[in-house]
Symmetry: C3
Subunit: 333 residues, 3 copies
């Protein structure tokens, strides 16, 4: 949809320099923008490229405030954030969805649906499920009995949600993710040598504004709950074990695994392919570099401190150890 | 369902201290137990907390045998195992399932179903599939032609089982897992530079009592079979390559990958995010720490010996190397 | 189907030594071959075993050219490649499929299907999808609106393809894989501390002859495209982030993750569990050993050069560093 730059600037929290009556209808990268698109630049060194691009308007950082140009500029402190908000306005509708409940979906009469709920073809909803207003459930998704889903959630195709899961509003779950699966807990019978399964009957509780990537797996609690607090963002193929607690606004990149009963406190940032042992604690604001590892029962501490390596150590230590090793290696025949 | 403590003690293999006519109807952790719940304690240091909890009864280790308390105790050598068995009695039924074959499931007449088989909505069963008594197949699951499934298995929602897979009794497969997919084998044509796919036409054979986690992938054999023996427990997002053999009662934690033609002998314990190269052999009873790696064609040996690191080495060696590196790193400017 | 050895030799590009009128109807490994099977041997040390096997015919390397034996031999420079081609002839049909569009599949009238397209039970195809001749879509697969699929593709059960994905001919996607999911990109609002999602509206473009393993996830581009070029082979549980470019004939083993905007140039070979940071470049023909890691923005260079470790370094360096560390560790008390 076409929007005037003045309106976009307002929504984006940006200061307009140029003609506010001009309209754009799309968003694009610097490389692919046309005259109908707004783009953004957050690195001053790319400003010149932006000005010479075909873009109809440019969202830029404060560094662009006094630039002489005929191209309309939207100057913002956080140009990426301003672009996100502009994009949300311009591209207001996501996908086409399947309006209403598709005739092939299985939805028993005990299910409570809010207004404007959409349930895709061949989705299966269990007894007593509650779905909030505006939520969309994709084709082939399977929702276990008694699950509670808030408003304005997206559960994409082929997602599985086990009984015992409850989620807040505006939760996004990408295709193939599994929520509330049984955790991995056994005791070995010393006589037979066989493993017997510990009961996995707890809940999985997911707060508002959580996003979960494709084919990720989040286990329910064993006896108590696994808890994902508000605003957590989880990438693809991530594993979250039983009884884990993840605090507000934690970000976890792809293929990371978190073992049972560990705690990731709020605002931590966890890179990709990180491994966290059971009963560990990653404290508030810690940054775990990609591929790092935290041993069972360990505590990692320090707001904004970057840890790297296996086992995880502060970045400076890690780099020194790498340097020593490289030097010694060179002497080796 | 309510059960008398005397009955629970018997099933759990525990010695009752207190009033055997008292009844409980649930299981819970120490923290959340109510008077209607049985809980357990395996660490003597937490006994006091257990005694002061609201729990209706406590399963505890031998350390509790002579404790003065009004609270009923069930004393067992293996309190976790005793709790598992008590829980199995108290929570006898799992989920609600979809009794019988759902009207939307696709089940050709050539399929042979045992008694009490349940097949969920939108499940698809191929020609000639055999399903043993009491087995449940979840919503949206896809079972390839000719697959053999034993009795009392659970295949959860959106599981895919390819043709060529055979599994024993009491096998559990969590949502989204893929069994019997083609392995990853190619030969490169030196003229065109293209890879041509090696035939992947072997079987995937799974023994009794095997459990497979959510979104794990187990490939079929290339020409022969991939074999998962009885009692193996596999966590979420694990990859098992073609022609792998996994021995009885092996346990494999989340996100571990096992490359083609490797062998994991019985009773080995494999941590999370472990990588095992092709044609390797992890011998009986070896313990591979989380994140460790075994190179192609290597043999790792030693019952109860713990290996760690990449490449995997005995724990003591690994710790010494870490210590040296840390010391040298500190001297580095 | 039975084929004469003379015909097989021709298709396989091999030189027949022995009776070309003899027929075989199957393929098998050395260990399991019967008189009706052709097998192959590429290691001269196993030739004797092959000659004594029950196989009806043996494809072998040039080393076997002058062997005295009554068993028919098919001598080829690339015996594995010759075996692959023989197998393709002998086992011409894959699976049984679901001929035509199954009555339970959801296929709107706006969908354009080529000839001989097969769509499995409970598959869901979105508006305006184009499917080329001979393509098979498995049970429970979900294809988003407007997706373009070429000819002779296989999309197996429970695959999800998001809107915005386009693929060429002869593409294979194993069960549970997710194509075109939203990438993982956010900007943090410094006031609220919350993450806001960057638009993920680009395409996922997949070339001819690409194969994608079970439960792998390939994200669409954010504003531009994620590109997988012709002949790329991707194993199970691999993650490909947004805006990644993978060049022709790249091979990527299981559980590897490639972060956003990285480039893997043609003919590179990437082992299992490799981690590649964002905006990195793995140049043409590089070989990344299993478990190795490439940091964000790094360039890894060298045709045929093997890199190992985290961070990835040339194999010789890596081995020397391991050796130093092992020696120093031994001195440590």
């Amino acid at each position: 949809m076409k929007h005037r730059l003045a309106e976009i600037a307002k929504v984006a929290g940006a200061r307009l320099v140029g003609d506010g009556t001009r309209e754009v209808g799309g968003i694009a990268s610097l490389e692919s923008a046309t005259a109908d698109d707004v783009t953004f630049v957050e690195d001053e060194r790319r400003l010149e490229q932006a000005l010479q691009s075909a873009a109809g308007a440019i969202i830029a950082g404060e560094f662009a405030a006094h630039t002489k140009t005929a191209k309309p500029l939207l100057v913002a402190k956080q140009p990426r954030l301003a672009f996100i908000r502009a994009a949300r306005l311009i591209r207001a509708v996501r996908g086409q969805g399947y309006p209403g409940v598709h005739s092939t979906a299985v939805v028993p009469s005990s299910v409570k649906l809010g207004k404007r709920v959409s349930i895709g073809p061949h989705a299966v909803v269990g007894d007593g499920v509650q779905v909030g207003a505006g939520t969309r459930i994709g084709p082939g998704a399977s929702i276990g009995a008694g699950v509670k889903i808030g408003a304005d959630c997206y559960l994409d195709a082929n997602v599985t949600v086990y009984a015992g899961t409850e989620m807040g509003d505006r939760v996004t779950v990408l295709a193939g993710a599994v929520l509330g699966s049984d955790g991995f807990g056994y005791a070995r019978d010393p006589e037979s040598g066989r493993y017997e399964k510990f009961p996995q009957v707890g809940k999985l509780l997911i707060g508002d504004d959580v996003e979960i990537g494709a084919n990720s797996t989040l286990d329910r609690g064993a006896l108590d709950s696994t808890v994902i607090e508000r605003g957590v963002k989880i990438d693809n193929l991530v594993h979250v074990g039983h009884n884990v607690r993840i605090g507000e606004n934690v970000v976890i990149a792809a293929q990371t695994g978190i073992s049972g009963s560990s705690v990731i406190e709020k605002d931590a940032v966890v890179g990709g392919q990180v491994g966290i042992g059971d009963h560990a604690r990653v404290e508030e604001g810690v940054i775990l570099g990609s591929g790092s590892g935290v041993l069972s029962k360990k505590i990692v501490r320090g707001k904004g401190v970057v840890f790297w390596g296996r086992p995880a150590r502060p970045l400076q230590e890690y780099l020194k150890q790498l340097a020593v090793l490289a030097r010694l290696g060179k002497k080796e025949k």
